[in-house]
Symmetry: C2
Subunit: 144 residues, 2 copies
């Protein structure tokens, strides 16, 4: 999570919403790290999770990541949660809960849907206060 | 929809699940066309809709597509439906209904979720039988 938080801080420094993600393999080796790049790419789908998952698949040469853990500073949205299921990610660890946009523990609770074909293990709230503070500080600065 | 069906047929010819998508602007001009590229890119998130939306944003130079129509041969999944909301697409026209993986008229019905911040107009079932036949033929050939 420290690596994901660093990626989130780096995203904030670039003017991006501070969310960071890291994909690790079964031994804990880092396969990919990404921060949000929505502004840099002018692409609303360029969430940290999407970029990290695609990069991890590229690095491993395998389009599925059944032994991988995705660690992300914010509860994934429906787009990222469904991508996590498509990539067959084994475990998702996230930081702050997102009652407005999250789709794992909130809203559509995607992994619990009968139509969801793959549900990873999920651990939420890891270093939640740090991950949440990054986002609160970022949006407070935007409004000030 | 004819353009989307052509993209789906081209995808099938490349060994991809035959789904095609096209993004048009307010005047009906084609901004982007894509077929599934999951196998070619070895990327389970490379759905036709995601590729077409990103390309349309690139072509217009605007990261939002508030006047655009996305026409796709299959009911979008949760990943693509959430991306459609993020790109602020005005209208979604789809072909075949997808009770197993669709997230517009099935499963999480994403655009109806209280947490969904943008719900496009939706027209489903357009040339449904042709779009569905493409998919059925593709999977029947795989099994034979």
């Amino acid at each position: 999570m420290e690596i994901a938080l660093d990626a989130a801080r780096a995203a904030a420094a670039r003017g991006e919403v501070p969310v960071g993600a890291v994909v690790t393999d079964a031994s804990g080796r880092v396969l990919a790290v990404a921060g949000n790049e929505v502004e840099a790419r002018r692409d609303p789908s360029a969430h940290a999770e999407m970029l990290a998952l695609r990069e991890a698949a590229r690095v491993t040469g395998d389009k599925l990541l059944p032994e991988a853990t995705l660690t992300v500073t914010l509860e994934p949205c429906a787009m990222c949660a469904q991508a996590i299921a498509f990539f067959r990610v084994k475990r998702v660890v996230f930081g702050a809960y997102d009652p407005k946009g999250g789709a794992v523990e909130h809203g559509p609770r995607l992994f619990g849907q009968p139509t969801c074909h793959h549900a990873p293990e999920v651990v939420g709230g890891v270093r939640e206060s740090e991950a949440g503070a990054l986002l609160r500080d970022f949006f407070a600065a935007l409004r000030s």
